[in-house]
C-alpha cells in the first residue's frame, strides 16, 4: 500500500540479511487487495494484447469499426488512429501490450502505485475513445449484458476510487473502500450514475426487440469451446422472443443495484451481492468470459470490473487510514521471547 511505502520502511527488494531483522510483513488492506486485483486485470490485458490476432489487420479493422455510428467529431480521430495502427501494427501493438503490462506491474509495485494509477486513468480514457469508440454509448446500440459502457472506462473509475489517499479520519472512517479517496457522496453518486446508465442502456429500443438479447447471446458462441457455446445457446433459447420482458427485468435489477449503496449496510450488502450475481451472469452468458478463449479478446470485458466495483462499495465496519502493518502478534511475541 502506498501509505506504507511512503512511510519510510524499506521495501523488501531493498533489504539484505541485516535489514531483514525486521519481521514486519506487508499485509494488504481491503483497498490494497482491490488495487492488486486491478493490477492483475491490467497484467492480463497486457498479455492478451500480445495475441496473434492483435498483430493482424483484424485488430486495426476492429479499431476502425468502433467509429461506425459515432458522431463525426468522435469518429474521425478513431479512423485516423486505426489507420495509423494499421500502418505500424507490430510496433504499436507491442507498445500497447507493454504499456498495459507496465500498468499492472506499476500498480502492484508499491512505490509506483500512484504513478501507475494516474497513468492508467489517462490510458483508459484514450483507449475508451480510440479503441472502444466511447463504448459506443453515443450510437444507441449498446447493451450492458455485452459490456456497455465499455470495460476500459471502468478501469479508470476503479483507479480513481482506489486512489491511495484518505478523506476520512479515524473518528469518521469511510463506510466503504470506494469512499476513502473521493468521499462518500461522490463515490455513491458515481455508483448511481454507472448503474442507472446500465439500466438505461438495457431499455434502449435496440435491446427491447423480441430477439435482441437472444441474438446477442447467440452471437457470442462463435469460436468458443463447445461447452461454453452450448451454455450460451441454452441461455439464448431461454430469452428467445422475450426481449422486452428481459430488458425490463434487467433494468429493474440494475436500478435496485444503483440505489442499494444509499441503503443501510445490510440492505446495501444484499444489493451488492445482486450486483456481483448480475456481473457473473453477464460474464458467462453475455460476454463468454470476455471471449478470451477465442483468441481475439483485448480484455476480460466489463463484468469482472463491475464485480470489483461492487467489492469496493462493500460496507466495512471501519475503514480508517491505516498505520503501517506491524506483523502478526505471534511473530512479534516470538521474536521478543527469543
Amino acid at each position: 500500500m502506498s501509505e506504507i511505502a511512503a512511510g519510510g520502511v524499506r521495501p523488501a527488494w531493498q533489504s539484505t540479511a541485516g535489514a531483514g531483522a525486521d519481521a514486519r510483513r506487508a499485509a494488504p488492506d481491503a483497498r490494497r487487495l482491490l488495487q492488486l486485483a486491478l493490477a492483475g486485470l491490467w497484467l492480463l490485458d497486457g498479455v492478451l494484447q500480445y495475441q496473434a490476432f492483435m498483430f493482424s489487420k483484424g485488430f486495426s479493422d476492429m479499431l476502425a469499426g468502433t467509429a461506425s455510428g459515432n458522431p463525426g467529431v468522435v469518429a474521425r480521430p478513431i479512423s485516423w488512429d486505426a489507420t495509423l495502427v494499421g500502418h505500424h501494427l507490430a510496433a504499436l501493438n507491442a507498445v500497447f501490450a507493454t504499456v498495459q503490462l507496465l500498468l499492472g506491474i506499476g500498480i502492484a509495485w508499491r512505490p509506483t502505485v500512484r504513478v501507475a494509477l494516474a497513468a492508467s486513468v489517462a490510458w483508459s480514457l484514450g483507449v475508451w475513445w480510440f479503441g472502444e469508440g466511447l463504448g459506443m454509448v453515443l450510437t444507441g446500440d449498446v447493451n450492458p449484458v455485452s459490456g456497455a459502457p465499455g470495460a476500459v472506462i471502468l478501469y479508470a473509475l476503479l483507479a480513481v476510487l482506489l486512489w491511495p489517499s484518505d478523506r476520512g479520519s479515524p473518528a469518521r472512517p469511510a463506510p466503504f473502500v470506494a469512499a476513502r479517496a473521493v468521499g462518500t457522496p461522490v463515490a455513491r453518486a458515481l455508483w448511481l450514475v454507472l448503474w442507472l446508465s446500465l439500466a438505461y442502456f438495457a431499455l434502449l429500443p435496440a435491446n427491447r426487440a423480441p430477439q435482441a438479447l437472444h441474438d446477442m447471446i447467440a452471437g457470442m458462441t462463435d469460436g468458443e469451446p463447445g461447452w461454453l457455446a452450448a451454455l450460451d445457446r441454452g441461455a439464448a433459447s431461454l430469452v428467445a422472443h422475450q426481449g422486452l420482458a428481459a430488458s425490463i427485468v434487467l433494468a429493474i435489477a440494475l436500478v435496485v443495484v444503483a440505489v442499494g449503496v444509499y441503503r443501510p449496510a445490510p440492505a446495501a450488502r444484499g444489493t451488492l451481492v445482486l450486483a456481483i450475481v448480475v456481473a457473473a451472469v453477464f460474464w458467462v452468458f453475455g460476454q463468454a468470459f470476455g471471449a478470451i478463449m477465442t483468441g481475439g479478446a483485448t480484455d476480460p470485458n466489463s463484468a469482472p470490473l463491475l464485480a470489483l466495483l461492487a467489492l469496493a462499495y462493500w460496507p466495512a465496519r471501519a475503514v480508517a487510514p491505516a498505520p503501517a502493518y506491524t506483523g502478526p502478534a505471534r511473530a512479534e511475541e516470538g521474536m521478543a521471547a527469543s
Binding site: 511505502a5 523488501a12 531483514g20 506487508a26 468470459f289 478470451i292 503501517a324 502493518y325 521471547a337
Partner: protein
C-alpha cells in the same frame, strides 16, 4: 502472427532467468548439505528447467530436450511440489494452497506440464524437441482445453501480482528474507527451503508466501533447531530473496503470455 522478435525478447528473459537460477545454485552449493539437499535446491532447479524449456518453446531456433523428456521432467516436478504442498497443508491447512511456499511452484510446474501435454498437432509434426512447437499461432502450437489455459493464466497473473506487492512492501520476513535469524518457516519442510548456503538457516528462496508463513521459531518436535544467522553474506547478491522472486515473476508473466497466445 506474433513478430518473432517479441518471442525472442521473452526467450531472452527466460535465458537470463535460467542463468540467474544456475548462479544461485552454484552460490548456494546445496550438494554440500547432508540433510535435505533437494529441499534446498528444488526452487532454483525448477526455475532453471522451466526457464530453459520456455526459452526453447519461444525461440524455435533453440534446441533443448524432446517434448517427451520435458513432459517427464515436469510431471516429476509437479509431483514433487504437490507432495510438498501436501506437507505444508498438514501444518498450515488451506493457507498452503492459497499462498503457501510451494503452491506457486506447483502451479508453475503444473502449467508447464499442461502446456507440453495439451499442445495440439503442430508439436507432433515437428522435428522433436521444443522447436517442434513451432508452426502454430505466433510460432507456437495451440492448446487443448483452452479454459484450463485461462485458469492457469489467471492464477499465474495472481501470483505475479502478489509477489510484486510483497517484494515491494515494507518488512522482509518469511520467504522474502534470507537469514532472518529468529524467524523461520513453520514446518520442517519449509525450514530448509531456500538459497542460503548454510544448513539450517531460516532461509527462504524469495518465493511467494502466505501471510502466516513467517512465524517465530517454534518448530514441531523432532525438527532441527534453527541456528542464528550465519553472517551478512547470506541473502545478498545473487542469493538475495528478491532475486528469486524476480525470477519467478518474470517466469509467471512469460508463462501466462505463452498460455494466452497458445489458446
Amino acid at each position: 502472427m506474433i513478430p518473432s522478435w517479441i518471442l525472442d525478447i521473452f526467450a531472452a528473459i527466460m535465458l537470463v532467468v535460467a542463468a540467474v537460477s544456475a548462479a544461485r545454485l552454484v552460490a548456494a552449493r546445496p550438494w554440500q548439505h547432508r540433510t535435505r539437499p533437494a529441499a534446498l535446491a528444488d526452487i532454483d532447479v525448477a526455475h532453471l528447467l522451466m526457464a530453459i524449456a520456455m526459452a526453447g518453446t519461444l525461440a524455435p531456433g533453440l534446441r533443448t530436450l524432446p517434448d517427451g523428456a520435458w513432459e517427464v521432467i515436469f510431471a516429476v516436478m509437479t509431483a514433487w511440489f504437490g507432495y510438498r504442498v501436501a506437507r505444508d497443508a498438514k501444518v498450515s491447512g488451506v493457507r498452503a494452497l492459497a499462498g503457501g511456499h510451494c503452491a506457486p511452484h506447483l502451479l508453475h510446474a503444473g502449467a508447464m506440464l499442461y502446456m507440453f501435454v495439451a499442445v495440439s498437432a503442430p508439436a507432433a509434426h515437428g522435428s522433436g524437441g521444443m522447436g517442434a512447437m513451432g508452426g502454430g499461432v505466433g510460432g507456437m502450437g495451440t492448446l487443448e482445453l483452452p479454459f484450463l489455459a485461462l485458469l492457469f493464466a489467471l492464477a499465474l497473473v495472481g501470483y505475479c501480482i502478489w509477489d510484486l506487492d510483497q517484494v515491494s512492501g515494507p518488512g522482509t520476513s518469511g520467504h522474502y528474507s534470507l537469514a532472518v535469524a529468529r524467524v523461520a518457516p513453520p514446518s520442517p519442510v519449509l525450514a530448509g527451503v531456500g538459497a542460503s548456503a548454510r544448513p539450517g538457516v531460516a532461509a527462504a528462496s524469495g518465493t511467494a508466501s502466505a501471510p502466516a508463513a513467517a512465524v517465530p521459531i517454534a518448530e514441531p518436535a523432532g525438527t532441527a533447531q534453527v541456528p542464528p544467522a550465519s553472517g551478512p553474506a547470506d541473502g545478498t547478491g545473487v542469493l538475495a530473496p528478491w532475486v528469486a522472486t524476480g525470477c519467478r515473476i518474470a517466469m509467471g508473466v512469460t508463462m501466462a503470455f505463452m498460455l494466452v497466445i497458445m489458446i
